[in-house]
């Protein structure tokens, strides 16, 4: 029994955190939002060197959640859950080396959870996935997202590529990675808010000395603390109800963190001048991607009744 990351996994997360801290995600994300995915692509290639993009080829789901949490912690642009968690189980053998190296990015359309392909206009490949099989798809009309560095493409399914691939497992891994990103984003929002509350003064004292602020951030801490074990347990069992529980809990904890972070920062948090906006807009988007909280609650009720 061990429901916390190993020493190796913690070192892996720390290395990824260091890479992402040095990478200037604000600039990379702004370029991605403007349609220049070059700097982001170089980052994804660095993920390849570190072994992040190959985790579902030669690692386990527990490694995946450790890495995906860190990607959410830094609000990394790109279809993380699609390309890193699910695509390796859905794409052909011939693509695996390129996927593992972070040289290609794959997006997915999986109705009804993912009716549109995230970053479908810049992805190297879009897979249209149903129980009947996997098809290559072409991007159609592209829509801007609430999150500036995301664009969603309508898709036109084309030729049948494969049947019999482990679609169910791939989708559970995608949900799991999305939940992990949300947990990481929630943690980043809490860390930033605590730091701001310690330094911003009003009424002659740091605002973090006021109970209204303390209690709100304490509630966020509780939500994140009790979401993480659900995520790690789901990575072990991959059972439907566990994966869904992780997605709901991580998503709602992250939403709580986002609301608290904006409130603690006040008007400065409502600007694009502060980096906070990347997390504030990512959280409500991922919370409703890879299945809404309502859909996951229904899945849990189906399983546990």
């Amino acid at each position: 029994m061990r429901l916390v990351p190993s020493v190796e996994q913690r070192a892996f997360a720390a290395a990824l955190h260091e890479l992402l801290t040095k990478a200037d995600l604000a600039t990379i994300s702004a370029a991605w939002a403007d349609g220049d995915t070059g700097p982001g692509r170089r980052l994804w290639a660095a993920f390849g060197d570190l072994g992040v993009t190959g985790l579902m080829i030669d690692g386990g789901p527990d490694d995946l959640v450790v890495a995906a949490e860190e990607l959410g912690h830094h609000a990394v642009p790109g279809p993380v859950a699609e390309s890193i968690a699910a695509a390796p189980l859905l794409a052909g053998e011939d693509l695996l080396p390129e996927l593992a190296a972070g040289r290609i990015i794959v997006s997915l359309a999986v109705p009804p959870w993912l009716p549109l392909a995230a970053d479908g206009d810049s992805a190297d490949l879009i897979l249209h996935v149903t129980d009947a099989g996997i098809r290559a798809a072409e991007p159609g009309a592209v829509h801007r997202s609430l999150h500036p560095a995301r664009r969603l493409a309508e898709v036109r399914p084309g030729a049948l590529l494969a049947t019999g691939r482990p679609v169910r497992r791939a989708l559970e891994l995608g949900v799991l990675a999305c939940a992990a990103q949300l947990l990481g984003a929630g943690r980043a929002l809490l860390e930033t808010s605590v730091e701001y509350a310690r330094t911003r003064t009003q009424f002659g004292t740091p605002i973090g000395s006021f109970q209204a602020v303390q209690h709100r951030l304490a509630d966020v801490s509780v939500a994140l603390t009790f979401a993480r074990p659900l995520l790690h347990a789901a990575a072990v069992t991959l059972r439907t109800e566990d994966v869904s529980a992780a997605k709901v809990a991580c998503g709602e904890a992250a939403v709580l963190a986002a609301r608290a972070a904006l409130q603690v920062h006040g008007a400065i948090g409502y600007t694009r001048e502060l980096d906070l906006n990347r997390w504030l807009t990512l959280v409500p988007v991922l919370h409703r991607s890879w299945g809404t909280a309502g859909q996951h609650r229904d899945r849990i009720l189906q399983e546990i009744r």
Binding site: A267, R272, L280, R288, G294
Partner: protein, 345 residues
């Protein structure tokens, strides 16, 4: 008790409804001018200033019809909802006659200049100064989070005019945003637009005629504006009842019913407050939470397609600002607990 509208109110509501239905909506100053020409820019104002001297009920009905019709956001809102009630209470007849008619026509657009980098929730920490000079005042300092300052002509705000600390020694003044010594720096908001700005003031001259109330009495005057900002003057029930109505089209869930209940509560409280006003802080706390809940419910119902829905995502981002502006919800809770409930400070 009854919910019946008298014949004059029915006639007014029908007039507004029919007029709005006949309009091709435009934006900005042009739209304000058309509202003014129809006598609808500010129905509760005295006739001499561009209003109809209509009872407060009519202002509520106008707000409901306006949002139900999906009419445009008003560029004149800061002036009409915040400065005008202050002038009508604390201003001179000369100030009202000079300032209100061009405000109603959209010829003069106003911005609020209250917050400063170190005076947000703690508004009494204002440092920007008004210094006595011949025939008026010189303003210096920095204001921030000034909504519509990028497009507005003039602004109103609080300045420190005496040696006293905190709430004392403040004066309420109006100044031109294109006057010599004024620099406006736009700030990009969460949605990418430059809805608000910083204002830098370097010895900006303001004549005595543009002081509202007495010099040194600015805090009292400002708190009357704050009451309008937190209360019904800024956020009538129309925005919420209209949004609740659109929610029903997205789905029928418990959340939708709860949103409908809350929007209905806000509307009924608005009617009740015509006879018995409630604390502006209570009103602000209710509408700021309601607005977020309504929009989060919509996003939940839209699911994975929520993030690309331009109207609901724009409304969501707007709603997220509600618990921050007009005095944060934390400040409102303290005011309510201490002044209304009588809890110790």
């Amino acid at each position: 008790m009854n919910l019946d509208l008298d014949p004059a109110a029915v006639a007014f509501r029908d007039e507004v409804r029919e007029w709005l239905a006949a309009q091709a909506f435009t934006e900005g100053r042009d739209w304000e001018r058309r509202l003014a020409e129809a006598g609808l820019a500010a129905v509760a104002w005295p006739v001499a200033y561009g209003g109809r001297a209509a009872p407060p009920l009519h202002a509520l009905l106008f707000d409901e019809e306006y949002h139900a019709a999906g009419a445009p956001a008003r560029i004149g809102r800061n002036g009409i909802s915040l400065l005008a009630p202050t002038l009508l209470t604390h201003g001179t007849p000369e100030q009202c006659a000079r300032i209100l008619p061009p405000m109603a026509r959209g010829d003069e657009v106003w911005a609020q200049a209250w917050s400063e980098p170190s005076a947000g929730s703690d508004l009494a920490a204002i440092r920007s100064r008004a210094t006595r000079t011949g025939g008026g005042w010189l303003l210096s300092g920095q204001k921030t989070w000034s909504s519509r300052a990028v497009v507005a002509d003039r602004a109103f705000g609080l300045f420190r005019s005496g040696p006293e600390q905190r709430h004392r020694g403040l004066t309420y003044l109006m100044f031109g945003l294109r006057d010599p010594g004024v620099t406006v720096r736009p700030i990009r908001q969460l949605d990418g637009t430059t809805g608000f700005a910083e204002i830098f003031l370097d010895d900006v001259f303001v004549p005595d005629a543009d002081v509202i109330g007495s010099p040194g009495d600015g805090w009292r005057v400002a708190m009357s504006t704050a009451g309008h900002e937190r209360g019904l003057s800024l956020r009538g029930p129309g925005r919420f009842t209209a949004a609740a109505g659109r929610l029903i089209e997205l789905g029928q869930t418990r959340q939708v019913a709860d949103s409908w209940i809350a929007a209905r509560a806000y509307r009924m409280q608005a009617y009740a407050s015509l006879d018995e006003p409630v604390a502006p802080s209570a009103t602000k706390l209710f509408w700021s939470a309601l607005d977020v809940t309504l929009h989060e419910t919509a996003l939940d119902l839209l699911g994975p397609l929520a993030e690309i829905d331009p109207d609901w995502t724009a409304g969501y981002l707007f709603a997220l600002a509600g618990p921050i502006y007009a005095g944060t919800d934390e400040i409102q809770r303290s005011i309510l607990a201490q002044r209304e409930l009588g809890l110790p400070r």
